[in-house]
């Protein structure tokens, strides 16, 4: 499931042929401008240093299972937020402000793989990267390189998910219909779809009862 096939004709996911962008003629101008910009050229990296950028790319590829092109440009979207200090409006007392926390935690990832395998996080193997992340996650509230592990994990996943699930390709993958103004919805209720919505083609891929190879 890594990588995307942005051409809806070749969309072989659970909602085959569905494309939110295909509905963009029904969107208002302000919304279309904001959403379509995400499909344009990704903005240049300004906040992360090259070393930080490499670690961030590897981290986001792991967190979002994006190992092939085309990718949602998560590293660029996060970098833009941090450049513009578009924070969530709070930071934990035991973590610095978001920008600083990002820089310090990416350096800590490099320090971790450096000490264990003599390479940066970006150059560690995918298995090694995943192992480090799995260990950090299982620390819960305990400290990792001086940070409360759960808060660092929260910071990483919050920024990663906000960037990834703001992108129309991700919406197509999850069946979300996207912006809905000024058209709105007419068919409300369980199992009631609008004419333009596409039903789940593989409802058996229920992640709950049929755990797949990801677990």
């Amino acid at each position: 499931m890594s990588g995307f096939t942005p051409d809806p004709a070749n969309n072989d996911g659970r909602y085959p042929g569905f494309s939110t962008v295909g509905q963009s003629k029904h969107w208002d101008a302000a919304t279309a401008a904001v959403v379509m910009a995400r499909l344009g050229r990704a903005v240049d990296i300004r906040f992360f240093t090259p070393v930080e950028e490499a670690a961030a790319r590897a981290l986001f590829d792991q967190l979002l299972n994006q190992h092939d092109e085309p990718r949602v440009p998560v590293v660029n979207l996060v970098d833009a937020r941090l450049t513009e200090e578009e924070t969530d409006g709070w930071h934990y007392e035991d973590l610095p402000r978001d920008g600083e926390a990002w820089k310090a935690s990416l350096a800590a990832l490099d320090a971790e793989t450096g000490a264990r395998w003599g390479c940066s996080f970006a150059l560690a193997s995918r298995t090694q990267q995943a192992r480090v992340l799995g260990e950090i996650q299982s620390l819960h509230k305990a400290s990792w390189h001086g940070f409360p592990a759960d808060r660092l994990w929260g910071l990483w996943t919050r920024y990663a998910c906000t960037a990834f699930y703001s992108h129309p390709w991700a919406w197509d993958e999850i069946g979300f219909a996207g912006p809905a103004y000024p058209r709105g919805y007419k068919n409300l209720g369980v199992d009631r779809l609008e004419p333009f919505e596409v039903r789940d083609a593989r409802p058996g891929e229920d992640p709950v009862r049929k755990p797949g190879d990801g677990q």
Binding site: T162, Y165, Y181
Partner: protein, 550 residues
């Protein structure tokens, strides 16, 4: 002219269909800083805008200073989650305590209309029991007023927003001016599950017009209520009270960040508000000052307003400013269905139950919780899924199952605790003003409520047919921080929202709530502000206020 229009013409002053009242804004009255206006109000949200509209109608010269922008919904708001970041108060704040509470998108708005611009739309009343929880249950606090004091204002505001819903059987039973909305898959499943469990659930109460209201159009069920309603169907003061205020000569001065309240050391009276606008520090003189910046910014402004008389912050003689701040415990439980729910369709607020609102002596905890539909959009839903520990391929797989999930949220009545408070941090914002440090730690009653509410939500979803349920613990709303009380040793303001320490200083926002019930606070904040306005406009011409005591 109908009664609501005679009281508040806002819905008729807007253009027919979506859009903004450009002519009203262009012709808005403007006061000079040197003009001593009757009242300057800090903040133009639920409390500030309601007070502004009422007092402007009563003939007061009134200015509201709003830190954020004067929104144009067509231009400034989008049908998009990530693109709505500018609706939230995102200036830096520090969160601390054993249970720190995230702010920003979670509970803090900015701009004309305040947090109601991005609130879901639930507009329930408090119950009569909320006003004396200490006498009845030995927890919380007794208010210096009773439910009956607020009832007429609840009724007025339910008409002005307007609120749609079924006849409400809980608390003080009452009806709503607009009929209940049709429900989507998520609401349908809450109703189905509740029925199977023998729990009463009702459609509403939501501040979304069902049918045309003045020039405001019908809801189109697009589901982006939390991103600001471009349709003008969901209520926020931007469309429910500001237009009428402007038509009656009020000024809304946007992009004006208050930094201090002026005090005359000789008379002990407030003289106006110091504020920054477009990089310039200015001072608006006023006969009376009302602070309505909500539970974080109101205490911050009071604490930052120091003088010889108030070395520890204005009205802080008894170390009460910033204390007894509350959030509601708001666990969200989602259930997986074979059918497609597509919970993002239709407004997230649809159906609720207040069956568990009151104290049940059989429980080991006091007070209770309500349960409502919530319908997270993809980014918020991803946060929910990631909180289960999923990442990488597993996260993507869970997310691809999105159409099959329904989601409920609880509001648990957390108790007011002195140590849950706002203080000033050493860190400063770009204006050089110390930022707020917000500390939160739950008590045992709070934790028990979270568990009980999750259990009921799991029961309801399972009874509706969910094969699996997952829960994320989170928090919603803010109230308290400058609470009302009978005397100055128990609270910052009296029953009329007038501060005990400075006779011409009011606090008219959610900060004044001594307890919170399990109700979304917007309607109560508006009702309190409307009541304060009625008290003020009745006694307005009595001359200069001199007495500290009632």
């Amino acid at each position: 002219m109908n009664a609501v229009r005679a009281r508040n013409e806002s819905a008729w002053l807007l253009p027919a269909g979506p859009g903004t009242d450009e002519r009203l804004r262009r012709n808005m009255r403007g006061y000079a800083d040197g003009d001593e206006v009757d009242i300057v109000i800090v903040g133009c949200g639920a409390g500030g805008a309601t007070l502004l509209q009422r007092l402007a109608r009563a003939g007061w010269t009134a200015v509201a200073l709003e830190a954020g922008p004067f929104w144009d919904p067509e231009r400034d708001w989008v049908s998009d989650e990530a693109g709505s970041h500018h609706l939230y108060w995102t200036e830096p704040r520090i969160i601390a305590g054993t249970d720190p509470v995230p702010l920003g998108s979670n509970n803090s708005g900015r701009g004309v209309g305040g947090s109601m611009v991005h609130f879901a739309g639930y507009a329930p009343r408090l119950h009569p029991s909320d006003f004396h929880t200490f006498s009845a249950d030995g927890v919380g606090a007794d208010w210096p007023l009773e439910y009956a004091d607020l009832r007429p204002y609840y009724e007025d505001l339910e008409e002005e927003l307007p609120v749609a819903g079924e006849r409400w059987p809980w608390g003080d039973p009452h009806g709503y001016p607009h009929r209940p909305h049709p429900v989507s898959g998520n609401g349908e499943l809450l109703l189905r599950g509740a029925r199977a469990c023998g729990i009463t659930a009702k459609v509403g109460p939501v501040a979304i017009a069902n049918g045309r209201f003045g020039n405001r159009p019908h809801c189109i069920y697009r589901g982006f209520c939390l991103q600001g309603c471009k349709v003008n169907a969901k209520a926020s003061p931007l469309i429910t009270h500001v237009p009428d205020a402007l038509a009656h000569g009020a000024e809304v001065r946007a992009e004006a960040m208050a930094t201090g309240i002026g005090l005359d050391e000789r008379t002990g009276q407030a003289t106006g508000v110091r504020y920054l606008r477009h990089g310039v520090e200015r001072f608006q003189r006023a006969r009376m000052v009302a602070v309505a910046g909500y539970s974080i910014e109101t205490p911050r402004l009071l604490l930052h307003s120091t003088s010889k008389r108030f070395p520890d912050g204005m009205c802080n003689d008894f170390d009460l400013v910033g204390r007894y701040l509350m959030v509601q415990g708001a666990p969200q439980t989602a259930g997986r269905f074979d059918a497609e729910v597509r919970m993002w369709k239709a407004p997230p607020p649809e159906v609720s139950t207040e069956e568990f609102y009151e104290t049940d002596p059989a429980n080991s905890y006091r007070r209770g919780f309500s349960i409502q539909t919530v319908s997270p959009l993809p980014i918020t839903w991803a946060e929910h899924v990631a909180a289960q520990g999923h990442w990488g391929a597993e996260l993507r797989r869970y997310m691809s199952d999105y159409p099959h999930w329904a989601c409920l949220g609880a509001l648990c009545e957390f108790l007011p605790l002195a140590e849950n408070r706002v203080t000033l941090a050493d860190e400063r914002d770009r204006n050089g003003m110390p930022i707020a440090r917000f500390s939160y730690s739950q008590c045992s009653n709070d934790r028990q409520l979270m568990v009980a509410a999750q259990h009921v939500m799991e029961q309801i979803l399972t009874a509706a047919g969910a094969a699996e349920v997952i829960t994320i613990n989170r928090y919603a709303h803010l109230v308290g921080g400058a609470r009302m009380a009978r005397d100055e040793r128990s609270g910052v303001v009296n029953r009329d929202c007038r501060s005990f320490a400075v006779p011409n200083l009011m606090v008219t926002d959610g900060s004044v709530l001594p307890t919170q019930g399990s109700a979304n606070p917007a309607l109560t904040i508006m009702a309190l502000a409307a009541r304060t306005a009625a008290v003020l406009s009745t006694g307005a011409r009595r001359g200069v206020l001199t007495s500290v005591k009632e």
